[in-house]
């Protein structure tokens, strides 16, 4: 009995995914087609890419609320610059502009020693305001048709965005497992003191992680603005918490030191499946919120329980070793 509960709790994400998939394919005959399965990921792209970046940041023990604003801001810059600068430059500058927000966040946190929550809360507000100011609080429309390919193009019959998502996750997975960038991430999040003593430039790397997180947000901004061929400061008002939820759903700790993109992608898929289920089962919009809330709560609570059990096991382990 206990074994079973343990298994359920440890594998809860997979189980939730399987249950949702079964339920969906029973209800919706066309669900189990490449196209519809792919579309789950396609739709998860924008949140997913940011979630990957957020995972990196969370592992280092930090936090970013400004991703939504960065996303919108990047879109606005890119679209506005299309006419004067042309496709390539506008996208490039857009990315840089978005990434700069990460630099600001990072500096505020490592140099200004401000709590990440507050710092990014501030930049969130600032750059939304900035976006509104630039656009005079009305949307700006894209002028280059080719731009739309970035977010709408099709390759091998599936959306091109799907490949961005996969690419980003592979890259982040590699970074985390095989590079200083990633290993220092765990070190800093796990024990900042020993990271320092091991000659890791903690401030610099923390800065990197903020920048990287902002960068993924900027990429999402490009994709979104291209997908809807519009830039608007009100885009992504609600994005930040969704992104963090996705990462934490995937088992990345808000206190740093542990987690990874394998979990995050599961979290993203779960959110995607829920979205789909809402439509397929034609759930009354009032209850959609409810379902989301309950699932997130379930995951975080079971996490709390398991982590506490793990700690107990370790104590026991220590005891046996000690004796």
């Amino acid at each position: 009995m206990k074994k079973i509960t343990n298994f359920i709790i440890d594998q809860k994400l997979i189980i939730i995914i399987i249950v949702l998939i079964i339920a969906l394919s029973v209800e919706d005959k066309s669900f189990f087609t490449v196209k519809s399965l792919a579309s789950i990921l396609e739709h998860a792209t924008i949140i997913g890419i940011m979630a990957a970046g957020m995972t990196v940041l969370l592992i280092s023990g930090s936090f970013d609320l400004s991703v939504g604003s960065v996303m919108a801001f990047t879109g606005i810059i890119t679209i506005m610059l299309q006419k004067p600068l042309g496709l390539f430059l506008s996208v490039l500058i857009g990315l840089i502009a978005g990434t700069m927000v990460g630099v600001i966040n990072g500096l505020l946190v490592v140099k200004g020693r401000i709590n990440a929550f507050i710092a990014t809360l501030g930049t969130m507000v600032i750059f939304k305001g900035f976006g509104l100011a630039l656009t005079g609080s009305s949307p700006v429309k894209g002028t280059i048709a080719a731009y739309q390919f970035i977010g709408q193009g099709q390759v091998f019959g599936v959306d091109i965005t799907l490949f961005y998502l996969i690419a980003i996750f592979i890259i982040v997975w590699y970074l985390l497992k095989y590079t200083k960038f990633g290993r220092n991430d765990y070190a800093i999040g796990g024990n900042i003191l020993s990271a320092r003593l091991s000659g890791i430039n903690v401030n610099l790397y923390t800065l990197y992680y903020f920048v990287f997180c902002a960068f993924t947000a900027a990429v999402s901004g490009i994709i979104l603005s291209s997908r809807v061929n519009t830039g608007n400061a009100v885009f992504g008002d609600t994005t930040n918490l969704t992104v963090i939820a996705a990462a934490v759903l995937g088992g990345t700790s808000l206190f740093g030191g542990k987690g990874g993109v394998i979990g995050t992608i599961q979290g993203v898929i779960i959110l995607g499946l829920i979205e789909r289920a809402m439509v397929v089962f034609n759930v009354d919009t009032n209850y959609q919120l409810l379902v989301r809330g309950i699932i997130i709560l379930f995951v975080v609570v079971t996490d709390a329980v398991t982590s506490r059990r793990k700690k107990l096991d370790i104590e026991k382990g220590v005891m046996e070793k000690g004796a």
Binding site: L108, V125, I126, L241, L290, G293, R308
Partner: protein, 327 residues
């Protein structure tokens, strides 16, 4: 432990004074802002406008008191706005059963919501950010479901519309109300055993536990109290703005957190207090009000708000470091 000896020998009256100076960073910001505004705009320092200033942030102020408790307990409640909304909705939906009943229910709802948060965070020890994020969604959903998404209007209530919009001797009752709530929570924190224990739990829950403090109850208590306060705030809100729509309260959340943090209550727990929150509230109010009476365009208001938040916190951090030197 030589550095310890250092500090022991090095504390003195003078240092104490400097310490005070640095510890009052936010107060000085407040005063400076205030003086500047008096010179910038003739409309600012009028009784009427000062009343407006506080009337507009009164609800936020009340909520900030609850949030302060939670943050001192090393937590944060991202569901506060949702609780406010849910209480307000239930308040209006059962008003036909009489004011007493609906007030009681509104507050009860707040307490229950707070309890749900408190149970999962205090007892189950789940991560507070995600828990309150999730419960926030749940509470919003619940208010949607019970109100069936309808937009609601509160009938004018004798007592409470009085709190909301009228005044005694020209002094807005809602501000008196705010002050009372602040005094009560302030005393709770500074002058009661529970308050002292809350600080202990916020600073170091393990040590608090060894000192026979039931931390999980204390932490749970902060969320319940926060829920209670949100319930009360909801009643006051509906009496000021009788039209309630689910989601209408959502924007309050970050304002409330901003206020608490502006005051200098650290998110790391165990520090700060209502006095600081009051200052934070005043700063927040002045900034909002000033931008309004200077008719600064909305877009720039956002910018300025954000910048002021960051500058204030930077300044506070700078002073905290200075202060530690004189610890």
């Amino acid at each position: 432990m030589s550095d310890a000896d250092t500090t022991i020998k090095s504390t003195s009256v003078k240092r104490g004074f400097i310490k005070f100076f640095y510890s009052q960073a936010m107060l000085f910001i407040l005063i400076i802002l205030f003086v500047i505004m008096i010179f910038v705009s003739d409309n600012f320092f009028t009784l009427n406008n000062i009343y407006n200033l506080f009337r507009h942030v009164a609800i936020l102020g009340v909520m900030a008191c609850g949030m302060t408790l939670v943050i001192i307990g090393k937590g944060i409640d991202l569901s506060a706005a949702a609780i406010l909304g849910l209480s307000a909705v239930s308040f209006v939906m059962i008003q036909q059963y009489g004011y007493a009943v609906s007030v009681a229910v509104a507050i009860a709802v707040g307490v229950v919501c707070g309890f749900i948060n408190g149970y999962f965070i205090g007892k189950v020890k789940a991560n507070f950010i995600i828990v309150t994020l999730a419960t926030g969604i749940l509470f919003t959903a619940t208010s949607l479901i019970i109100s069936e998404g309808r937009n609601l209007t509160a009938r004018p209530l004798l007592v409470f519309s009085y709190i909301g919009s009228s005044s005694v001797f020209g002094f807005p009752v809602i501000i008196i109300f705010l002050i009372i709530i602040m005094i009560i929570t302030g005393i709770l924190l500074q002058k009661t055993i529970a308050g002292r224990r809350l600080y202990a739990a916020g600073l170091n829950d393990k040590a608090a536990l060894v000192s026979g403090i039931n931390t999980s109850n204390i932490i749970m208590g902060t969320y319940v109290l926060n829920g209670l306060i949100c319930g009360i705030a909801a009643v006051v809100m509906t009496s000021r703005i009788p039209r309630i729509r689910v989601g209408q309260t959502a924007p309050y959340l970050f304002d409330v957190i901003t206020i608490v943090v502006l005051g200098g209550t650290a998110l790391t727990g165990g520090m700060g207090g209502i006095y600081k929150t009051a200052i934070g509230l005043a700063i927040f109010g002045i900034v909002n009000n000033s931008m309004a009476i200077l008719s600064i365009p909305y877009e720039y208001q956002q910018l300025i708000k954000g910048i002021i938040l960051i500058l204030a916190v930077l300044y506070d951090e700078f002073n905290r470091r200075k202060r530690l030197l004189y610890q």
